[in-house]
Symmetry: C2
Subunit: 411 residues, 2 copies
Amino acid sequence: MKKNVLIIGAGGVAQVVAHKCAQHNDTLGNIAIASRTLSKCEDIVSSVLEKGSMKVEGSIKAYALNALDVAATVELIQQTESQIVINVGTAFLNMSVMSACIEAKVAYLDTAIHEEPNKICETPPWYANYEWKRRDECKENGVTAILGVGFDPGVVNAYAKLGCELLDSVDSIDIVDVNAGDHGRYFATNFDPEINFREFTGTVYSWQNSEWQSNKMFEVSRTDDLPVVGERTTYLSGHDEVHSLSQNLGVANIRFWMGFGEHYINVFTVLKSLGLLSEQPVTTAEGQEVVPLKVVKAVLPDPSSLAPNYTGKTCIGDFVKGKKDGKDKEVFIYNVADHKEAYNEVGSQGISYTAGVPPVAAAILVATGEWDAKTMVNVEELDPRPFINLLNTMGLPTRIKDEEGDRPVSF
Amino acid sequence: MKKNVLIIGAGGVAQVVAHKCAQHNDTLGNIAIASRTLSKCEDIVSSVLEKGSMKVEGSIKAYALNALDVAATVELIQQTESQIVINVGTAFLNMSVMSACIEAKVAYLDTAIHEEPNKICETPPWYANYEWKRRDECKENGVTAILGVGFDPGVVNAYAKLGCELLDSVDSIDIVDVNAGDHGRYFATNFDPEINFREFTGTVYSWQNSEWQSNKMFEVSRTDDLPVVGERTTYLSGHDEVHSLSQNLGVANIRFWMGFGEHYINVFTVLKSLGLLSEQPVTTAEGQEVVPLKVVKAVLPDPSSLAPNYTGKTCIGDFVKGKKDGKDKEVFIYNVADHKEAYNEVGSQGISYTAGVPPVAAAILVATGEWDAKTMVNVEELDPRPFINLLNTMGLPTRIKDEEGDRPVSF
């Protein structure tokens, strides 16, 4: 049964989601795109029509919406007869959009954990602070809510679940995210610098020996020889998926590692040490009040401007370590994506592509009923097989590497 | 004959000048300190009185003055019966203060070349753009104007002149300025960050083979094993003294080299590359207009706050290379100063100390008549001997190093 989709947000990820929904509008039906700035939604609609992304004849329309306004969001869901909402707006909107979905009794998907503007890095597990408080409400209303179904979190949660099924017992899951792409600029962030830097200024929580451990950013590193992108150093980082996998899989060690080049770390360290990443205003000699982080954002390139010249690959995957048939075993389940191919297909760079394709795959699985859970779930609570199979056909193929070699995965 | 002094400016260098004038008020008479902010002048007066710096009973008074107002400056010179003006205010004031001195027929001393706020790094030789245009006027009025009589420019000009007298012919003069001090902060500039960074964002002019040569900052370096501070790398930099020595000494190669640690260069490079040292305003996502350099200034430590914890030494001197008795000869004429000793004596760090002591020595030589030129001169046009002798007794002893060893210099 076809299900209409409402996309909330109009950034680089929303652009990918729109193109991918259009490519599958035989399953997903009508597409609505809503954000505060109507013109950004209209630009995405134009891009989809220009690229000829619509698989079958259908409707794709732009709407202006303040998604913090629950009543307005409910009204738009009803007006557009949407049955699935894909929320890829800013992380500050999640709770409002979820409220609207519960009220309208439609499916809710997002790709990042809820954040409150003035709070950085709250108590772990993060999902328990906002999302999970509404699990019962979803269940009572028969509402499917799939949390964090981008790439990481999202696909890597499915990889973690798959790893647990492939092995007899699992001791550790190490998720590694490397962007080996080159945008040709002196320095740029791949998404909003303000949100990007917020990720790295707080405590790094990891799950080790079945307990929360606290570290600082860039304090702990590992180096792996990864498929395609080669030897890369990654750093223990705080990330959403650690906060659900630790609670759902019964695995003692769950860690997230983000790759950074020396140049990125150097620029970050200089800016942070000088106080230029601060959200607290300073006063200039002339008496002007300024938030330094907002000035840094103003001088950095607009992330969407990077896409046309972005080259190189990303490699994101899970090292799953444990026992199989009484012997030690490690598998690496991963995807490699290409910035240029992403741009050619949907006009976005690879980071937006890997984040934007998975929620559309999830929406298709909700539409077909395979993932229509009728309650709130994180991705590792669902069967990873149909998701991985579908992503194989949608531009994000999964591979596995172990002592038997490196090969594609499908079921 | 005692000569009263008017000090213009109330920063770290003015503080040193005031203390040193007080220590020699048997020659220099009454002391007046004037700047836009009266309270800063009053703080300096208090510091002088608290330290008991006055050698003999005398007057030291604070005044509010906008030194861009020539008539007001003339009036203050007359009211205070000052015969020597030591201008250590911002470099934007020079021409106004000089006008007042010519009108009042009193001596004028400064320590840095005139700058216009909106122009960075004008055509060489810089002195010809402003100061030297008024040389005839000084001569006609019998006014002594000694330009750039801090340490560099200033003492290093006297060293250059002395080097030319010690050798039969000189081929090159390389002035090396190393601050091997440690203020214990992640990053700080030794004087106003805005003025400091202005020095390094323009073209680097040097005098080579009797012609102006243009380079970029950090493009050319040299490494020397220097007395006390050891092996240090310095970078070809633009600096005032090159613009007078090149015109006055008939030497084919005159270069200025500033020492920077790798850490300083790294921070500078990151900030400059990101556009954070720009004087041009940017607009934040919220629509606020901000000059990035002013925000950088706001987050950096106030340079005067560094003094109490500053340790280590400075080494500034001239490598003079040429012929003596038909043989190749090189001498290094230099001074080593100590940050902590400077702070203990006058409450300022070493950079302010080396800049502030020489103009007081020059004022004393004007008062005694030895340097009372009755026209406009740069320091290399005066006899270096009495200046070096006097500085030996005032906290800035000169030493010489050549093939015969390393020894103090006096005449």
